[in-house]
């Protein structure tokens, strides 16, 4: 599974992109967020507050209950501010 981090998530976790095997027990975005937060350090800092997290799976905006499977591309980012 590929995970992408944008804007302040990239800065806090200090990583732009990583490939991981789907961790045991991770079935949806919620459980992936729990797993990331439990990693400690910048990850915990980035993912402790779930209020302003937006997520896309395979480049489509989804809610936290969206199912995940190995091979998915998951991206975390704050609310968009383009234009």
């Amino acid at each position: 599974m590929k995970i992408l981090y944008f804007a302040h998530f990239r800065e806090k976790a200090n990583i732009a992109e990583e490939d991981i095997d789907l961790p045991a027990g991770v079935e949806d975005v919620n459980s992936l967020l729990d797993w990331l937060e439990a990693r400690g350090g910048g990850y915990t800092d980035a993912f402790a507050d779930r209020n302003h997290i937006r997520v896309a799976v395979n480049q489509e905006h989804v809610e936290f209950d969206a199912a995940l499977k190995d091979g998915d591309e998951v991206a975390f980012f704050p609310p968009m501010t383009g234009g």
Partner: protein, 150 residues
Amino acid sequence: MTIRIQAEDFDAGAEIARISAVSTNVGGVCSFLGLVRDSGENSAITAMTLEHYPGMTEKQLAKIEAEARERWPLDDSLIIHRYGRFEPGEQIVLVVTASAHRKAAFEACEFLIDWLKTKAPFWKSEETPDGTTWVEAKAADNAAAEKWGE
């Protein structure tokens, strides 16, 4: 229908001229050009950086442009959005819509830019004398996008 996500600058006048000429059915061409301002909510802005999510951006913009074409009778439309670091006065975004009638051109253009502001995966950070900060999403922008429904 054209969508361009690019670092390079663009020639807004040439794009508008091109779209004006696509058909003699075009009666009105509406355009919106977004520029970097030198003043933010609280302090002076010396530069702005736009980050995006390559791949998802193009996909999302194609989807919203298709929706605009379904909702309004457009002869053509264009979205150009830049990414990278910019200084005040520089061009960031251009939306152009062409229709037989002006109301359709205006509404579709405003719809596209409202949508871009809140739903296309771009993030802005601003450099000010106090440091660099991520721009927070504005409630007014969300309200503007929501008025078009889903």
